[in-house]
């Protein structure tokens, strides 16, 4: 089995550190300039520098998205920005604009240049074209099946990156102007309003042919590609990317923790059993995504791979606390509350590079050791007795018997 990079998203320093602690090989972030995902609370240069320094301690690389398709007004300061990224210790930039790629090669030659999925690369001739232009990696289009990926990989001369998990654009990336037309928000400059996920009436020559109770929509289920990881590793894909710079710390921790375990098991044993793969998928489902599908990996998505009538991620409230500290003598864990829980809650704790462990919360105390009926104030510090030692940076979730929605 070939090594593969686990590339995780991060919307701020907290999430960057979480992704790194939980086992990402590389993290991608957006800067304040030239980046998409305007709501992803993008990083200042000082944050990028701090993030890159933190990552370096763990041997992790930081990629910065410089993937805006700039208009004339956006071009000022590009050289200075790219030079600053290089000085901050950034490993790679992800870009769609060839002018940005070429500028980086000129003014910041130590930065790797990764061609963004916005170029919708679907074949090796396009990949190799970018190699000739100095690119160091290509992020392939999400529209490729597993067998198409294999064909592209066989003839490509650049390391290839593919999406493994997260939200899916309904359109070829970068080719969607629904948001521009319907809200004047530029999808290629970070303003996407996700108009594809809205509801629409459908007409044939002006005659309605939609169902009023289930209107037409262009909303995709999220991608869960874990089951394809063995083949992706076998074919020599360089990196698998988790989508979601706007997602929560818990989301990132859950996904990175699980994919790290899966990759490590595949590297060690060469395969995982079907039962074990089911277990991994069940763990990934705890990250509060939208319902899952397999994207294009198995072929063209069908009706069951789309969402009609529901839009957002289902927030289950199962993420209940962060572990702040653990006193092994008192056998007492100090927690920061995230979602409500009560004495008697069945819970599981997961920590960077540690297996999941289940336990029952028997009692809850405040910081003054007063017993509480419930922990219902998010961010409040509480204590719980626990025979189970807990690591700093661990997270606790309720045990919920959720039926996984993906085959």
């Amino acid at each position: 089995m070939n090594q593969i990079e686990l590339l995780a998203p991060a919307g701020d320093l907290t999430r960057l550190k979480t992704a790194i602690r939980y086992g990402a090989d590389a993290v991608y972030i957006g800067g304040k300039q030239f980046s998409l995902r305007s709501r992803a609370s993008n990083f200042s240069l000082a944050d990028i520098k701090e993030g890159a320094a933190f990552a370096k301690q763990y041997g992790v690389k930081v990629h910065v998205t410089v993937n805006m398709l700039p208009h004339e007004e956006d071009l000022n300061g590009l050289s200075e920005y790219l030079t600053a990224l290089q000085e901050c210790g950034v490993h790679a930039i992800i870009c769609a604009s060839p002018a940005i790629m070429m500028c980086a090669k000129q003014v910041a030659p130590r930065l790797e240049v990764h061609v963004s999925t916005q170029h919708s690369l679907t074949n090796s001739a396009a990949v190799n074209y970018w190699k000739c232009k100095g690119a160091d990696r290509a992020v392939l289009a999400r529209e490729l099946t597993l067998s198409q990926l294999k064909e592209v990989k066989q003839h490509s001369e650049l390391p290839l990156e593919v999406f493994i998990h997260g939200g899916m654009c309904i359109s070829y990336s970068g080719r969607c102007m629904l948001s521009n037309h319907m809200t004047l928000r530029d999808a290629n400059r970070g303003g996407c309003a996700q108009s594809c996920r809205w509801k629409y009436r459908l007409y044939d020559n002006g005659k309605p042919i939609h169902d009023e109770t289930t209107l037409f929509s262009m909303s995709s289920k999220d991608l869960m590609g874990a089951r394809f990881l063995p083949e992706l590793m076998q074919m020599g894909i360089a990196s698998v990317k988790i989508e979601g710079r706007m997602k929560s710390t818990y989301y990132i921790a859950t996904l990175v923790h699980t994919y790290r375990m899966l990759i490590d098991e595949l590297l060690e044993n060469g395969s995982v059993s079907d039962e074990k793969m089911d277990w991994y998928c069940a763990q990934l489902a705890k990250a509060e995504n939208r319902p899952f599908a397999t994207g294009f990996y198995r072929g063209l998505p069908k009706a069951q791979d789309h969402l009609y009538g529901i839009n957002g991620a289902g927030i289950s409230g199962e993420y209940i606390a962060d572990v702040i500290d653990y006193d092994p003598e008192q056998k007492m864990a100090v927690l920061k509350v995230r979602n409500k829980f009560d004495p008697g809650t069945e819970a599981e704790v997961f920590a960077p590079h540690e297996p999941l462990r289940q336990f029952v919360i028997t009692e809850i105390y405040d910081e003054e050791d007063l017993r509480l009926e419930t922990a219902n104030q998010p961010m409040r510090i509480v204590k719980i007795p626990s025979e189970l030692p807990m690591s700093k940076h661990a997270m606790i979730r309720k045990v919920i018997d959720k039926k996984i929605q993906i085959e």
Partner: protein, 297 residues
């Protein structure tokens, strides 16, 4: 400034040439996206001949994104187009650029990515690849077009100045999937008279599904009668009238209006009036020329 448009039939070539076309765009089922009409590959040599007899350029759309197994077929097609004397080839997939380089025919290529070309630095990048020209994104303002034209070789830039604008291309069969979800067997594949309206609005957007997925178009027809003079002033090389969802006769009429504007036989107000007399109910606007899109939510 050249006037370009799309021919619906071979017989349209002479009509459109008379109406003022300097170049005509053609598509094939295998290599083109969103062509107003598709032709058999075997017809293309005759089309080139007829175009050249009428002194108009024959321009081909090879603007799909291609899969690995199609690359050799794309290369054959490019070689064929070079051999029969096509004057220009529109592309979006850089594979076409790579293959054309091998065939020593990059001078025929025009980069048309629909959405990606929004500044003069990227225009310059593609022009330094030795290609014939580039098509600017449609979602930029008149000021931005002017700035790009002034900073780059404007004579090699083309604008899609008239017609329905493509808004979204998904590889998925979104209409068929919806019908499958409703457990209905309406055959929507290939229908070119479907529209969608967002649930809280009353603005119809053309939508169709073909072998390459689902395509959604603007609610409005973009028009450029008022801006045409400015395009000419900054030396824009060509303006296209995209005929998708129009008849051949409509296309010839629209072309003739722009041609009369170009010859200064009419001014922009008269052009508007002429146009409105033929399409009194059509929603036609200046698109994004005066309406900048934002970078934040």
């Amino acid at each position: 400034m050249k006037l370009l448009t799309t021919a619906m039939t071979i017989d349209d070539i002479a009509i459109l040439a008379d109406a003022g076309a300097d170049g005509l765009l053609f598509g094939t089922a295998l290599f083109s996206l969103r062509a107003a009409a598709v032709f058999e590959e075997t017809q293309l040599a005759e089309i080139v001949k007829r175009c050249h007899e009428c002194k108009v350029e024959m321009r081909m759309l090879v603007n799909r994104m291609f899969d690995e197994h199609e690359l050799s077929r794309v290369k054959e097609h490019l070689y064929y187009l070079k051999e029969i004397g096509a004057d220009a080839i529109y592309f979006s997939d850089e594979a076409v650029l790579a293959l054309a380089t091998e065939l020593d025919m990059t001078h025929l290529l025009i980069y048309q990515s629909d959405t990606l070309l929004t500044n003069h630095m990227d225009v310059d990048y593609y022009l330094t690849e030795g290609i014939q020209g580039v098509v600017l994104a449609k979602e930029i303002t008149l000021d931005e077009i002017t700035a790009i034209a002034q900073a780059s070789d404007a004579s090699k830039t083309e604008l899609i100045g008239h017609g329905y604008l493509t808004m979204m291309h998904s590889r998925r069969k979104l209409l068929s999937n919806y019908m499958e979800h409703l457990k209905r067997d309406d055959k929507l594949f290939g229908c070119d008279h479907l529209t969608i309206e967002e649930a809280t609005r009353h603005e119809a957007m053309p939508i169709y599904e073909d072998a390459y997925g689902t395509h959604v178009f603007s609610t409005f027809v973009q028009k450029s009668f008022t801006e045409f003079k400015q395009f000419a002033k900054v030396n824009i090389g060509a303006m296209r009238i995209d005929g998708i969802f129009h008849t051949g006769a409509d296309i010839a009429f629209i072309l003739s209006v722009y041609d009369r504007l170009r010859k200064q036989e009419i001014d922009s107000a008269e052009a508007e009036e002429l146009y409105r007399s033929r399409f009194p109910k059509q929603l036609s606007t200046s698109g994004f020329y005066y309406q900048a899109t934002g970078t934040s939510k």
